[in-house]
Amino acid sequence: MINGRCSACKYLRRKCPLDCIFSPYFPSNDPERFSCVHKIYGSSNVGKMLQQLPVHLRAAAADCLCYEARCRIQDPVYGCVGIISLLYQQIHSAENQLAETKAEIAVLAVNKNFQI
């Protein structure tokens, strides 16, 4: 942040230092982004998680934390694990459909061979 504070420091009501760990990933024009991660993880945990990562991976981590936090706020019981569960169900269903379709093809192929 060249001027002003990042949304994290605004939320936390503190000065935004030049080397603020949050400012590259929580710009002041998107306050909801930080408030979501703060609500679920807490600013201290988010700061620690980002600090532990190489700089080039922090943006990806911040994005994923935001997404997961929003999922958890929207669904406090399952969060994004609900999406994982749904995907597993859908994959299972698709695999069954594929197996059934292949079985039908196999039957028809055998019938066709017998008819030759």
Binding site: R33, Y41, N45
Partner: protein, 170 residues
């Protein structure tokens, strides 16, 4: 004189970790048994005890066990993959789903070619297997090329059907 109130020998894992007395109506005790210390340690590391407590108090009691289990799953995923966490798993599953949809469309096209020659087959009269791919919700079909940082509202349907907010594909 020191109180003779006995120390609880059955502190839950959370209170043991936090080094505090486990009170009778401890919110953590039913879900963080003392024989599973790592479960709370992981959840605490990612979310913090205070945040977990808040989340648990916000959900109905009958859903707290599921809540704790999903938090533990997320924490485990985040500790295993500090960058992508659960999102990495979601992206992989989405990719798998897209591959399956593709395989299914190929298989159904092939089946259609066979059935064109067998219009009287009893198998073909069963339309249940001839449903289109539209039966699969969009949730499993959308590959996202780029990530935008729009913070639009995500309804439950939005989470399932609108992966335009989804960070990454792998």
């Amino acid at each position: 004189m020191r109180s003779h109130e006995p120390r609880s020998s059955s502190s839950c894992a959370a209170c043991k970790f936090l080094k505090r007395r486990c009170i009778p109506n401890c919110i953590f005790a039913p879900y963080f048994r003392s024989d599973e210390p790592k479960k709370f340690a992981k959840v605490h590391k990612v979310f913090g005890a205070s945040n977990v407590s808040k989340i648990l108090t916000e959900v109905p009691e009958e859903q707290r066990e599921d809540t704790v289990n999903s938090l533990a799953y997320e924490a485990e995923a985040r500790l295993r993959d500090p960058v992508y966490g659960c999102i990495g798993a979601i992206a992989l599953l989405q990719r798998k789903m897209v591959e399956l949809q593709f395989d299914l469309s190929i298989a159904r096209a092939r089946l259609a070619r066979y059935t064109a020659n067998y219009s009287s087959s009893p198998i073909l009269n069963d339309r249940s297997s001839m449903t289109t791919l539209s039966e699969f919700p969009v949730a499993c079909g959308v590959l996202i090329e780029s990530f935008g940082q729009n913070s639009s509202e995500l309804s439950q349907d939005g989470l399932m059907n609108d992966f335009s907010q989804f960070p990454y594909t792998f």
